[in-house]
Symmetry: C2
Subunit: 212 residues, 2 copies
């Protein structure tokens, strides 16, 4: 999936282009930042996504500007970033961050076929919360009409990853400052029942596997 | 800071324009997604930022394409998103996410003055890890030369926020599905000392206050 526009230029040895590697980073998240252009102005809007092979599904209201631009076939850039930790070196200069990110270039088209749209919505639901699709009331015809789905076909994509401890200049290793990593990750708290939920309904088990 | 391009269009009652409110969302994060345009292609690149009044500082290598475009004065969009939780409704249609996001429009200029650059680097360091600036070796002249700083002046900005429980259709409240929130937040783990750190150096206390 490598190509010039998707080439990692800064710190090129952090660039990863293998499709499985890129997909694993995409599959570990559910929020992307979509870039599009209107006039000469870039816009960057966060939204959820679901991956299905070489396509990323987006969804929302038919009135959404993001979706209207996305379905027009205009060039898009979708970026997914996982912050894995702070890298604290002895020198401020060598401070860094551990992260996994993917930059996707592609163009979108509306998913108009009702069966395909339902499939896309399930992919989106599974990306955010596996198990939920079969444990909630499914969409009815009126709701499906109010939901636009756009499929962005991945034309090029690249991953960029930093892992591991800080790398200081050799002469700084003797300095007295603490150095190391502060790991960071998105963690789920205890499920909070809706105030209108009857007491006897317990939180479903699949929530325990999400961001433990 | 409101203006048409920064106007929240979808679910407009989630839009927030008060400067203090927008700043609080910016101050709660340290990673933004910067959108810029080359030709007709949008690019969205994650990077750290530091806020100083109505400016957001970015930094990196002078060879960075992002920084070279940013300092050129081209129109930029910088977006900061905090994912606060999954909103699980009885109907799939009313599933949502709790979040706080800010979209900033502005243009950048290089911070060339050495004192101002040092100030900006301190702002950046404090945004990511307060307390670290005074507890690490400061930048020397060669390192400062290798560090480009760009200040993006915020021209327009808007926040968008969702909080609270799911909102189902009235006729769905009797359905048997669990409904509520799964809170999510970025949490720090236990600091991991650099393998080359002498045993006697303890992790600094300020790390305990970061993302507890």
């Amino acid at each position: 999936m490598s190509a010039p526009r998707a080439q990692v230029r800064r710190v090129p040895d952090r660039g990863r282009y293998e499709q499985d590697y890129v997909n694993a980073i995409l599959d570990a998240g559910f929020v992307c930042h979509v870039g599009f252009v209107e006039g000469e102005q870039p816009f960057v809007i966060p939204t959820i996504y679901g991956r299905d092979g070489d396509r990323l599904f987006l969804h929302g209201s038919p009135g959404s500007r993001l979706l209207r631009v996305a379905r027009s076939g205009a060039p898009l850039c979708l970026t997914v970033t996982h912050v894995d930790g702070l890298v604290l070196a002895r020198s401020l200069f060598h401070h860094s961050m551990n992260y996994r990110s993917v930059v996707v270039f592609g163009r979108g088209a509306e998913v108009a076929d009702p069966d395909e749209r339902l499939h896309a919505l399930r992919i989106l639901s599974d990306q955010v919360c596996p198990g939920r699709w079969d444990d909630a009331r499914g969409p009815n015809a009126a709701e499906l009409k109010q939901t636009m789905v756009v499929a962005v076909t991945i034309e090029d994509a690249s991953g960029k990853v930093r892992t591991g401890p800080p790398l200081d200049d050799e002469e700084d290793y003797g300095l007295p400052h603490w150095a190391g990593l502060l790991p960071l990750r998105l963690v789920a708290g205890v499920p909070v029942p809706d105030p209108r939920l009857p007491n006897r309904v317990e939180a479903p088990g699949y929530l325990n596997n999400l961001h433990p």
